[in-house]
């Protein structure tokens, strides 16, 4: 018995603790920096701080500065607006396409399904150059539409893939019953299948929303004026000027803009995982 607990510590508790500390440390570090007063942040290299891992004088001044002196509230709104519109577009397309791929028999079904899966894997690194040229030609540069139109490149395949997996878990018989009772295909789809699929739709929507909230490359390339930027780009590009880092505000921005999203994400992760496994098992 004594040997058992000893083993459990070696194989379970110790690795678990190491993992959890490893995953959470950067977040703790951000929090500490965000509430550390300037006198502790900017000091000469000779005056060594004896409390590197915590602070004895927590302050909220960085948060106040961030909200009052930078365009941070503006970035929040931009990010929110872009994420909502692009998610809505992608979800609508993905819903219809996912339904067709999961439920209807037609030639090319397999081909189109695989193509959509493959497009999910085309990296932004390949796409940003041609997209930059298209955006330039349509004079959409530095507007939210540049992002609203480009985010579906990864959101549509993602939503379609996830929802297709979800639709496949709904028994066909439900729909057939509705059809026998006189519903049209669209009637059955809208009144029977979509309501059942609400959890799937919800999770696809939340994940599409967070994916666009977190997107970096396109936002970096297509937006240039400070007040148009999104949170991920704004925080990094406007609060770092050359080699000058506004550390406190930077960290406060990093926390404020993202913690709510990350928390929502974590609550819905089970749905997401179910969607992923559904599409892997087919």
């Amino acid at each position: 018995m004594v040997e058992q607990t000893w083993k459990k510590w070696i194989y379970f508790y110790i690795p678990l603790t190491v993992f959890v500390i490893g995953t959470l440390f950067p977040f703790y570090w951000m929090l500490i920096t965000a509430i550390r007063p300037d006198e502790e942040l900017y000091r000469s290299w000779r005056a060594v701080n004896n409390a590197p891992f915590w602070t004895l004088h927590p302050t909220l001044s960085h948060v106040q500065d961030l909200l009052a002196k930078t365009s941070f509230p503006r970035w929040l709104w931009n990010t929110f607006f872009i994420a909502v519109v692009s998610t809505t577009i992608s979800l609508a397309c993905g819903l219809l396409a996912g339904y067709a791929l999961a439920r209807l028999n037609f030639p090319l079904a397999g081909f189109l399904g695989t193509s959509i899966f493959v497009t999910y894997l085309v990296p932004p690194t390949l796409l940003f150059i041609p997209l930059a040229d298209i955006i330039r030609n349509f004079r959409l540069g530095n507007t939210p539409w540049a992002l609203i139109l480009t985010y579906p490149t990864f959101l549509i395949p993602f939503c379609t893939w996830l929802l297709m997996g979800y639709f496949k878990t709904i028994p066909k018989e439900l729909e057939e019953c509705a059809r026998i009772d006189g519903a049209t295909r669209f009637g059955a789809m809208a009144r029977i299948i979509f309501p059942i699929a609400v959890p799937g739709i919800l999770s696809a929507g939340i994940f599409a929303f967070t994916l666009s909230w977190n997107e970096f490359i396109y936002a970096l390339v297509f937006l240039s004026s400070p007040e148009r930027k999104t949170v991920p780009v704004g925080v990094v590009s406007e609060l770092i000027r050359g080699d000058i880092y506004f550390w406190g505000q930077l960290m406060a921005g990093a926390l404020l803009g993202s913690v709510p999203v990350a928390l929502v994400y974590s609550f819905f992760v089970e749905y997401y995982v179910a969607g992923l496994t559904g599409s892997v098992k087919g």
Partner: protein
């Protein structure tokens, strides 16, 4: 009836396919064409056709060769590490224990959190600008690493660490879903049949999780090959060590050489296709199973 169904199917797929054609297929075609020209937004008119010149220039460039090696090393090394840590996460979380939900969230947070801002936390952790006893140690470590392995080695390590931190979180959760999808009896049988946990892991867990492992490796390798965001963010856009993604970014957006940059980023395609084919060969591809 059957005819109508086909029509309905295409009608439902139309919005998605149309949008993808406009923002995906067209850009890719454009990129392939541009890579054969000397197009640049700095010059007037459309670019001149130059054949395979851009590719010849890219491949002959020693900087590219270095970037290609770094990119491949980066993709393979981080994938291996992510997989190891991810499997660790999944196995630890597979059995219930008090506080599992909290640990679960802690494990998932790195992936759920926007990379561009969590990277700031990492930057601070690895190169602390505040004078503390801790920052002196990190500074010395940087010098030691750069001194023995050459300049940029520390940056390479930092980016890899960050990528592993983020990626293993996703792979862990993903594999956990895989373990949960396997009937528990299979694991229980294995527990009775074999004594060694090590053997059990290789002979039972790995084969059962094969499709999940394949997909995880695939996603990790492709994002690794095409990584631009992570490297860009952690090095704040400076090229401390080159990967193909950042080189293409500098050429296209800062240098305005669309033709050359297109050729450069298209050199990623053989790598990506290679990974795809390899995995479809070795593992049951998830898509083919369905078809």
């Amino acid at each position: 009836m059957r005819r109508r169904e086909v029509g309905v199917a295409y009608a439902l797929l139309a919005p998605a396919v149309l949008l993808l054609l406009v923002v995906l297929a067209y850009p890719v075609a454009w990129e392939v064409w541009t890579s054969l020209t000397d197009l640049s937004p700095l010059k007037d008119g459309s670019g001149q056709f130059v054949g395979l010149d851009n590719y010849r220039r890219v491949i002959g460039d020693p900087q590219f060769q270095r970037a290609a090696v770094v990119t491949a090393t980066y993709a393979v090394a981080t994938t291996a590490a992510k997989l190891a840590v991810g499997v660790g996460f999944a196995l630890l979380l597979a059995r219930p224990f008090p506080g599992r939900a909290l640990v679960f969230m802690a494990v998932f947070l790195p992936w759920a959190y926007p990379a561009s801002v969590s990277v700031i936390g990492w930057y601070w952790t690895l190169s602390p600008p505040v004078a503390t006893a801790y920052s002196l140690v990190m500074g010395q470590m940087k010098h030691a690493v750069d001194g023995t392995l050459g300049t940029g080695a520390w940056a390479f390590l930092s980016v890899s660490l960050f990528n592993i931190w983020r990626g293993s979180s996703f792979i862990g959760i993903f594999l956990l879903a895989g373990i949960n999808a396997v009937p528990a009896q299979l694991f229980e049988c294995a527990l009775l049949e074999s004594g060694s946990a090590w053997r059990r892991f290789w002979l039972v867990t790995v084969p059962l999780l094969r499709p999940f492992l394949a997909l995880a490796v695939f996603l990790s390798l492709t994002t690794g090959f095409a990584d631009l965001a992570n490297v860009w963010m952690l090095t704040a856009g400076r090229i401390v060590f080159p990967v193909i993604g950042t080189q293409a970014y500098w050429l296209a957006i800062q240098g305005g050489q669309f033709g050359l940059a297109s050729a450069l980023s298209l050199t990623l395609v053989p790598g990506l296709l290679g990974v795809l084919l390899l995995l479809f060969r070795i593992f049951d591809p998830p898509e083919a199973e369905r078809a």
